[in-house]
């Protein structure tokens, strides 16, 4: 089966991806590759990943997000996660997964203003 692609939008120098479906492993890996490529191509200074629709984040997706944040960081790009459901956040911590490099915001709107602040503070885009 073809893995479905998650659309990645570009607004100014920020990329926004909203995950709207349950991710199976192949589509999650595809998303990581697409996103990193797009960061590279657009030289985006920030990436917002909206997880409002995800009701499970297991160790596989958790590690993938941590990897995205680490690799984006190497390219000078900040990552903010938005819309993490409370049940998902609790489960992640109990599972043993902390996402130390990843910033979170309650929703997409707050994520955007957080990103704006971050990229302004850091004129050169460095982490």
């Amino acid at each position: 089966m073809d893995s479905l692609r998650i659309p990645i939008l570009k607004i100014g120098d920020i990329l926004i991806a909203s995950i709207q479906v349950a991710l199976h492993d192949a589509s999650a890996v595809q998303f990581k590759d697409d996103l990193l490529q797009k960061i590279h191509d657009t030289r985006a200074r920030g990436v917002i990943i909206d997880l409002t629709a995800l009701d499970v984040v297991d160790s596989f997706i958790g590690r993938l997000i941590a990897d995205i944040a680490a690799m984006a960081g190497l390219m000078g790009t900040r990552v903010v996660l938005t819309g993490l459901q409370p049940a998902v956040a609790i489960t992640l911590v109990e599972l043993g997964l902390e996402l130390p490099r990843v910033l979170t915001a309650l929703n997409l709107e707050k994520g955007l203003s957080m990103m704006q602040r971050l990229t302004e503070e850091n004129g050169d885009g460095a982490v």
Binding site: V56, A87, L95, G96, L97
Partner: protein, 133 residues
């Protein structure tokens, strides 16, 4: 939910199917949103292990009762290589696949009861339960 339900694991798509089945069952049994997420996440970890280490296997969910307490039981079964040292695989960070080694100890933390039966070359059966509060 009188009957048990089984999902066969053959691909990464089946991992999603199994955890959705477990979540739906947990919801039908009256578990709240946080427990539903715990149960679905534990099933996701165990189903992925079946896919990764045994290739194929099954995940079965059913209702259980103990002294008037109701709960959900999840049995994950495979005929894969088996686990030689159970204490070792239950340690945080132990992995033979460059994973985070978080699946088994994490699933145990998310559930109430957790037990592994395994024999080298024969297969692995993991049974876990969550009780309704």
């Amino acid at each position: 939910m009188a009957q048990s339900k089984t999902a066969v694991i053959r691909s990464d798509l089946d991992i999603v199917i199994a955890r959705t089945m477990a979540r739906d069952a947990a919801k039908a049994l009256g578990f709240g949103a946080i427990d539903q997420a715990r149960i679905a996440t534990a099933v996701s970890e165990l189903a992925r292990n079946i896919f990764l280490y045994a290739g194929t296997g099954t995940v079965t969910v059913k209702e259980v009762e103990k002294n008037t307490r109701k709960g959900i039981e999840i049995v994950c079964e495979d005929q894969g290589p088996g686990i030689t040292n159970i204490d070792l695989v239950m340690q945080d960070g132990y992995s033979t696949s460059r994973g985070m080694g978080m699946g088994l100890p994490g699933a145990k933390r998310l559930m109430d009861d957790f037990s592994i039966r395994s024999q080298e070359g024969v297969g692995t059966t993991i049974t876990c339960r969550k009780w309704r509060t």
